[in-house]
Symmetry: C2
Subunit: 411 residues, 2 copies
């Protein structure tokens, strides 16, 4: 057992590893899991991990779980890490890798963290999992609840993409559709959870266990690159916790002597909803809510990321990285670049490519960098945005002669 408990990011108070916690009971800030890194470094061989079954749970020692028998898994993590020279050239960097979470069990990044919270729900004996979500978290919670034989309740904006809601319903979730944008729903949902009116296991923004699953990005990237950190990791940012936890993961590897170097963590938001970028660029420590404008990146709707956003700003700054907002036009171009390498990615997942392109163009990232862009969701998850980019031909052929003519017309 290497998981030793929690420390409050804000007040520093410590908690035992067997406590059922959300926010810090003392100051209501975010908690961060702690581990005995000396013991991990002593007991574990980084090369031996390569022989374990792949996925999030090959990093078992770095996860805040007490009982292996409770683990709820659908085979998440270890999505493709693809060197993309065509995209590198288009965005102007020496070396670019795409780390794709589009092939996770439910098609998005959320499975990396929900596998951990579902496991904790089982450990703690809950019967119902819940969350608020722009859609991806909802379908993930529904799938892992099903896998665990538990029920689920999810709260989504009423304009959530149909595939995400359908997926959640298909897994048996009760879906409550809420009028308003994500941060408004997040505020109401958190109030519900903290009111004690329901006895559900919250897999939402306050759960400190689930976020530890996101450290697996760092481990996988480091392992794939031969335990040398890339110069920069670019990640879509809604609340920003993926960036916080990937940064933590790289730091853990460095601390136990497994990793050379550390990456600049870079967050990309939709320009019309970019409170983290605004704070980073203004040099502020506290993220101020913004007025949410329209964007095709529907999963990046965190106009008020709150406590998460503040942690994201801190991690980005500590790493020497930056943040920015990109336009819908830049996102659509990024989606096309990904398609040119055979990758089918939803708008919210594609912004990392748009982000690095702009940073290089503006001289804020060096063309000499080795960059890893995380793409976080399948094109199927926001299918209408993909479908609007293509035209299914109306013409059909019905005989060999017509088929031959159509083939020859292609040259």
């Amino acid at each position: 057992m290497y998981f030793t408990g929690f420390r409050c990011f804000e007040c520093g108070k410590l908690y035992r590893p067997d406590e059922d916690l959300l926010l810090c009971p003392a100051c209501h800030n975010l908690l961060d899991a702690t581990y005995d890194y000396d013991a991990i470094g002593r007991d574990l061989d980084r090369d031996a991990i390569a022989a374990r079954p792949h996925g999030v749970w090959r990093w078992r020692e770095f996860m805040p779980v007490l009982d292996d028998a409770a683990i709820v898994s659908l085979g998440e993590g270890d999505g493709p890490m693809l060197r993309c020279d065509r995209i590198a050239k288009a965005v102007g960097v020496r070396e670019l890798w795409v780390k794709s979470d589009a092939n996770n069990p439910t098609g998005s990044l959320k499975d990396r963290s929900i596998t951990v919270s579902a496991t904790k729900a089982v450990e703690f004996g809950y019967k119902i999992l819940s969350c608020d979500s722009t859609g991806n978290k909802a379908s993930s919670v529904a799938a892992y609840a099903a896998r665990a034989g538990l029920d689920s309740v999810v709260f989504c904006p009423d304009d959530t993409p149909v595939p995400k809601v359908t997926q959640a319903l298909y897994f048996g979730a009760r879906v409550i559709r809420v009028r308003g944008h994500y941060s408004q729903i997040n505020a109401m949902y958190r109030k519900l959870i903290h009111s004690g009116a329901v006895k559900w296991y919250d897999c939402g923004t306050d759960n400190p266990f689930r976020y530890e699953g996101k450290k697996s990005y760092a481990y996988e990237i480091a392992q794939h690159l031969g335990w040398r950190a890339p110069d920069r990791v670019v990640h879509p940012a809604n609340g920003g916790m993926s960036i916080v936890k990937a940064w933590k993961g790289f730091g853990e590897l460095k601390r136990i002597g497994w990793l050379e170097g550390l990456p600049k963590m870079t967050g990309v938001q939709a320009a019309n909803c970019a409170p983290i970028a605004k704070a980073v660029l203004a040099g502020a420590n506290i993220v101020t809510p913004v007025e949410k404008g329209p964007t095709i990146a529907s999963a990046l709707a965190g106009a008020d990321p709150g406590l998460l956003g503040n942690r994201a700003v801190a991690s980005i700054r500590e790493s020497g990285g930056t943040a920015l907002g990109v336009s819908d036009a830049e996102t659509l171009e990024a989606m096309q670049l990904l398609a040119s390498e055979g990758l089918f990615i939803e708008p919210s997942g594609a912004v990392a490519i748009a982000g690095i392109k702009r940073l290089v163009a503006e001289g804020k990232a060096s063309p000499d960098e080795r960059v890893v862009c995380v793409v976080t969701g399948s094109g199927f998850k926001d299918f209408d945005q993909i479908a609007s980019q293509v035209r299914i031909p109306e013409e059909t052929v019905g005989s060999y002669e017509e088929l031959l003519a159509a083939a020859q017309a292609l040259g």
Copy 2:
């Protein structure tokens, strides 16, 4: 180099490994790749493979590729292998595993084989990849062509599910929609390819290189189960080549001394289009075409599997397995069983579960078996079939009071 060439399944003629082949030039039957298994057994350690990056290409020595630099990969293979006790209980077997290809790069089994044919297209210097397809092969060919920087042309029935056609178009494929069912299109497409009228690299039913990728099912299943074969492998069957090649893969492992036991290979088709099952049950060696009836399993539309079907019958019989057709109602129930374990699978991918359930009920499979069911495609690939199973609630809530009331109404 362990790949030694090809042997015709029918006439036994041998061919060199560097030849650009489709069917046997001598007798126009299917070719089967040959390897120096003694050398593989001597040079390779099965446990060392576990430390390689996961996916189809960790089995490099078993693939018919001459030039590693030509490999075109999107990170295919090594989808989740999940023990599903709830499904086991529902279908009545002691132990049931689901091997899911839904999380392959383009969301279906096809990526296992198209990664090989795309690689051969690069080796041979082609500029355009082509195939006929009920949809999944089309989107896979389009994606791998894009990844390789090549063009693609695909021929699909005019009623192909929209997500599959959209995905192919999004990757830049030219899509030719053909009136008729799959086997009719297959006959016209093969005539086109063999006419020499086009200089495309055929990734369709006659390509002997690409099928070798499907052996990776066997390797992954064997490795996951500690190099002991399961009692039975159940796989959806259209042409049936996945069954032929998984059977070959298990046989290879047995031959080089890595595997204990061999599984009964079992093919599941749609009852309304089940020519392979018909031949197996009749004790025939040659598959006779059937009249295709309607089915929700749109990828299992091979009313005339031709040469492939004959090979499938031979493999099934050699293994001591069987084949059967299942109704749409049984398929829908199988999809629900998969959803109860958190799996989101298209109808054509779910039939394996329906098949094992029926075999146990009819006393044709033992309740004592350890069974692996392969599920071959994501629910997103035939999304309308999934969407028709759920109802998105019309009601919305707009305030905390309404949200609280909705939550409390759930009990």
